[in-house]
């Protein structure tokens, strides 16, 4: 949500999508959990990017001020490195979603059976 919705210049917008929500999982709440996980991943990325800016500014000046961070722009090389790191970051968080595909692509042998369940 906006930080300063009370501002006279602002025009309050509707953030939610009208109509039926899409659901994919049978168990109640899993769709919401996916949304929450993605929101958390997004906010974690915001922190990581801000921290990278902080480190960069701190290295450049030896002093860190809030305005330094807000106004800081990464160099094209720094940006490219950060973008590459971001894709690794996403891949690590959602690793479980490529596990099955990788396992199938590896054409696994038949596994020995586990002991029967007690």
């Amino acid at each position: 949500m906006p930080d300063d919705s009370a501002n006279a210049e602002s025009t309050p917008l509707r953030y939610s999508v009208k109509g039926k929500r899409m659901r994919f999982f049978d168990a109640q709440g899993v769709d919401e959990l996916v949304a929450i996980c993605m929101g958390m991943a997004q906010e974690m990325w915001v922190i990581k990017e801000r921290q990278a800016a902080l480190e960069s500014v701190a290295a450049e000046k030896g002093v860190v001020l809030p305005d330094d961070i807000e106004g800081h722009a990464f160099s094209p090389d720094q940006r490219a490195a950060l973008d590459a790191e971001k894709q690794g970051f996403i891949d690590r968080i959602f690793f479980t979603l490529r596990e099955e595909a990788e396992s199938l692509a590896a054409e696994p042998e038949e596994e020995p059976p586990a002991p029967s369940m007690p």
Partner: protein
Amino acid sequence: MTDAVDHDLKVKHTKDEASRQNFVAGMRGYVLNDLSGHMKTVWDRKVEPAFEKANGRAPSDGPEIHKTIKSETIFKFYSAMRCNTQEMVWRSVMPAVEREGRDLSRRAQVLSQAGDKAQGTVETNPNFEVPRYVSELDVHMMPGNYHEERIDYDVTQGAVFDNGLAVFSFGLLGDRMEDITDSVSTFYQAHYPDSKPKKILDLGCTLGHSTLPWKARYPDAEVHGVDVGGPCVRYAHARAQSYGVDAHFHQMDAEHTDFEDESFDIVYSCMFLHEVPLKNIKGVFKEAHRLLKPGGVMLHYELPPNTMTSPYDGFYLDWDSYYNKEPFYKAFRDADAKAEIEDAGFEKDSFFEHVAPSRNLYGHDALMEAAQQDGAKNDSRVGRFGDGVMWYFFGARK
């Protein structure tokens, strides 16, 4: 990520908002390239072999693949995460648009009235009735759609769409996000060198990013764009003025415009038809036929039809129709465009279709080389937002 919005209606996103947008763009790349690749592997190696074993045949079409794969965990996560990234696209840009709403409105008015760089025009209609197929849903999950208005000279939904599109397309649409029409119009000009249009119309023009490239190809032509969204046409005009491009925008329904018979040489649309119900698409084709001069050309950039794609690609592309609030998309992709253009009054033999490589991704030479070829070849990259996308378009001559 919103760097592509580089005109005078640019809004200022905070650093954290820009990081959220950056994340969403990266997440879209992950879902549309990585996760979709994993889903295809699971299909090829597990689900399809099991289907063939059980049925003694391969699945016959997209809906059968959809029905078979939808219980798979990978499909559920791909789908849930695509829906979430789609919503996050818009949510990531809305706070800045919200903060600057009234200022954006003032800036748009100044740009539209100043005319110091360009002399285009804009007209809206206070009594305009937005068609129900637009007003009844938030198309592609964009809250407020193309048309909702809250203040005088409202341009906010144009700004939400412009900034959101920049995040959504994660760089695939090139400078000014005009790559589709830039590529299609460049291809058209090279493939049909005898075409010298004097008047060009863009239907469902939204931001005008599909309108302005025509002026770049044919500088002497008069270029018009129509859209049902008042915020969109106001925004489109201010954007065009900011870029110094003469273009004229009108709040009109593409099925029932106010233009005279036989007044245009090209009637075009870009990413428009798939958001329109089939019965209204028929109306759009009829209107295009009415508006075209004899010898004029109707052109539509679109998703490729299901007859052109493999069953799996058909399933993949039709996903949006079920889950992305684009309910009319599948009926359009299933339709026989040749039959529809004939119903609208065009000669069936005048139908043509092409695939234009993205100039942004493949370069000018590849586009020029493709423009020497006739017809449209099946290719899983066509119309598929992800690495290596190519653009499909079709049309007919009056």
